[in-house]
């Protein structure tokens, strides 16, 4: 961060209303679980919590953070609730906003989330001393939607093998969009888009197309490693990937309805596995299977953080749905870093070999 840049606000969840942070004149800074900080979270909470929450807490305890004007945490799951509790105890001087996040996407929940966003608006105004207007939120949402569109183009290029640096470069770009000011991210994405080649790199090794699903895999090296093992994602459904930026158009939304529309967008599909539709139990697995079938993926790789109940509990249903669709599933449980993907190398390569035999 350079002098004069907007103050940073830490966040950890893709359901965070980033447009509101930008509208408040702040830059969202995603606290990724990538750190050399020593393992302390187990003593503050418990060893058997997801590595996302543990490593973010380790960063907080070690001070492995840029200067933050505040932190916003979504109460999205049990582990995140505990992170909020631990952060408040370990760093009592930090400004921390905890927003409730409903588990379902029906109108009553949207109304509740809207109320939470309005409460957050008041909090942001207290933090910054400035009014957070609907106009500013609209404008920020439009900028984020532009970034999201640009990222989608880059993802398509990565899938086609025409983006130099492939999925590793894409992930690095994705990480930048949630840690840097909007204009800096925009410039980088433009530059990257300009480097897309016409045709696939002839030296690029043969690979099999897969759909990559799961929650967190923010380490660019991990994605490059996946490609090096011969698995080329056609698309992804990751919290740190395609689902990270919630693209919402607010241009035609009148004042007073902006946070409602934002709340709808935050709870809308594509869903994190923790969000469910009471009218359609098991919808998350069905939707992913439908997507996998519709793409030309030869199989699905699910990378899930260890101890993540919302995901692990729903994997058996996903496996069943994919089996019906004739698509094999490889599940990798890890700590969201390239280290754990490296440990899975043999399994990934074996999966690719199996898919290759089948095609």
């Amino acid at each position: 961060m350079t002098a004069g840049s907007p103050p940073l606000v830490g966040f950890t969840c893709r359901h965070t209303p980033l447009a509101m942070l930008h509208a408040a004149g702040m830059t969202p800074f995603r606290l990724l679980p990538l750190t050399q900080a020593p393992d302390r979270a187990g003593a503050w909470l418990h060893d058997n919590l997801c590595p996302h929450v543990k490593r973010v807490l380790d960063r907080a305890l070690d001070g492995d953070l840029p200067p933050l004007a505040g932190v916003v945490l979504m109460a999205s799951c049990d582990a995140m609730r505990r992170l909020a509790d631990a952060w408040g105890t370990a760093r009592p001087d930090d400004r921390v906003a905890v927003l409730d996040l409903p588990m379902v996407d029906n109108p009553r929940s949207v109304a509740w989330l809207t109320a939470e966003l309005e409460r957050f608006r008041t909090e942001l105004e207290r933090w910054t001393g400035r009014t957070v207007t609907d106009a500013a939120i609209r404008s920020a949402a439009a900028d984020l939607a532009t970034l999201a569109t640009r990222l989608d183009e880059l993802a398509a290029a990565a899938a086609a093998g025409t983006l130099p640096g492939g999925w590793g470069a894409l992930q690095a770009a994705r990480n930048l969009t949630v840690t840097a000011p909007l204009d800096e991210s925009g410039r980088h994405l433009q530059q990257l888009a300009g480097s897309i080649t016409r045709g696939k790199d002839p030296d690029c090794p043969a690979s099999l197309p897969v759909l990559l699903v799961g929650n967190l895999l923010p380490d660019p090296t991990a994605l490059s490693l996946l490609e090096a093992c011969g698995a080329r994602p056609l698309a992804d459904d990751l919290c740190t990937g395609a689902r990270q930026l919630v693209a919402v158009t607010l241009d035609d939304v009148p004042d007073g309805q902006v946070t409602l529309r934002l709340a709808e967008a935050l709870l809308a599909p594509p869903h994190c596995a923790r969000t469910l539709c009471p009218g359609e139990p098991g919808r998350w697995a069905r939707e992913l299977a439908t997507r996998a079938r519709a793409s030309n993926a030869a199989g699905v790789i699910a990378h899930v953080a260890k101890f993540c109940d919302p995901y692990l509990a729903r994997l058996p249903a996903l496996r069943l749905e994919l089996r019906e669709a004739g698509l094999p599933l490889l599940v990798l449980e890890g700590d969201c870093t390239s280290g754990s993907v490296g440990q899975h190398r043999t399994r990934i390569e074996a999966f690719v070999e199996m898919l290759a035999e089948g095609t």
Binding site: P38, A43, G339, S340, Q343
Partner: protein, 270 residues
């Protein structure tokens, strides 16, 4: 030698340790034998051996306290006391002022927080898996084709900060074999192992002592003989770690001292 003696027996899953102390709490003899499959036989042999070393017969022993996993099976004891309490008592006698004791044995590890008078105020144990214990080091030494006692000094030349990605004993052994096969330096691998144990152990210590500033830290158990692990733990905690001369027998010493305390409290002139 005159006067009553007090016996502490630490019946662990790997070794059976015995310490005899006199009424002043001074250690007069000690011994360590591998437990093996026949625990009761080993307990008898350990008793006989420590008495022989002291040059006394069974009648000299006024009271016995047993500790360790086999403590309930020791006959003739006045009490079975857990190894947590016994280790605390033992380390306080050897290193008064100890605030935190880290004990890493053959297959478990513990961190014990003591108050200023050496009483236990909190403890945390890892007895669910062998990672970071003596068993872990045995498996790694096997993979490296070195002897366990030599591990401590092998990391002296290490510079690269190599880290292991797995703490599971089984997977770490495979990882070490791969590293050796790929030509990694043994010193670097051993340093990585020691750092891995230290990282895991400091997590356990934090559960009983969230802050280490100014705390006196001691280490006991067989793994404390490994200077490399002790150095790595000191680096991880940012505090010096002191190891008494016979780190394996701290539990048995504590048990003997508790036997003495209780016997003298019941009858000051036994």
């Amino acid at each position: 030698m005159t006067g009553p003696l007090f016996l502490g027996l630490d019946v662990g899953s790997l070794s059976c340790d015995a310490v005899l102390v006199d009424r002043n709490g001074r250690s007069v003899a000690w011994t360590v034998l591998p437990t093996g499959a026949r625990v009761l036989d080993t307990v008898d042999r350990t008793r006989r051996e420590v008495l022989e070393l002291a040059g006394v017969g069974p009648a000299a022993v006024a009271a016995t306290v047993a500790t360790g996993y086999g403590r309930e099976r020791v006959e003739g004891r006045i009490a079975a006391v857990t190894e947590i309490t016994c280790h605390a008592r033992g380390i306080t006698a050897l290193l008064p002022g100890t605030d935190v004791l880290v004990d890493i044995g053959g297959q478990d590890s513990k961190a014990v927080r003591l108050d200023h008078s050496g009483r236990v105020v909190d403890f945390a144990m890892n007895d669910k898996c062998a990672a970071g214990t003596g068993r872990f080091l045995e498996a790694m030494a096997r993979a490296l084709e070195v002897d366990v006692p030599d591990l401590g000094d092998l990391d002296a030349e290490a510079r690269t900060g190599l880290t292991l990605s797995s703490m599971c004993t089984v997977f770490a052994e495979s990882e070490v074999v791969s590293l050796v096969a790929s030509g990694a330096d043994v010193a670097e691998i051993v340093a990585g192992l020691h750092r891995a144990i230290a990282a895991r152990t400091q997590g356990l210590v934090r559960r009983v002592a969230p802050q280490f500033d100014g705390l006196e830290v001691a280490m006991s158990g067989g793994v404390a003989r490994n200077r490399g692990v002790v150095r790595a733990l000191a680096a991880a905690l940012g505090r010096p770690v002191t190891v008494p001369d016979e780190p394996d027998t701290v539990g048995a010493l504590g048990a003997a001292l508790i036997a003495r305390d209780r016997a003298l409290a019941a009858d000051p002139a036994p």
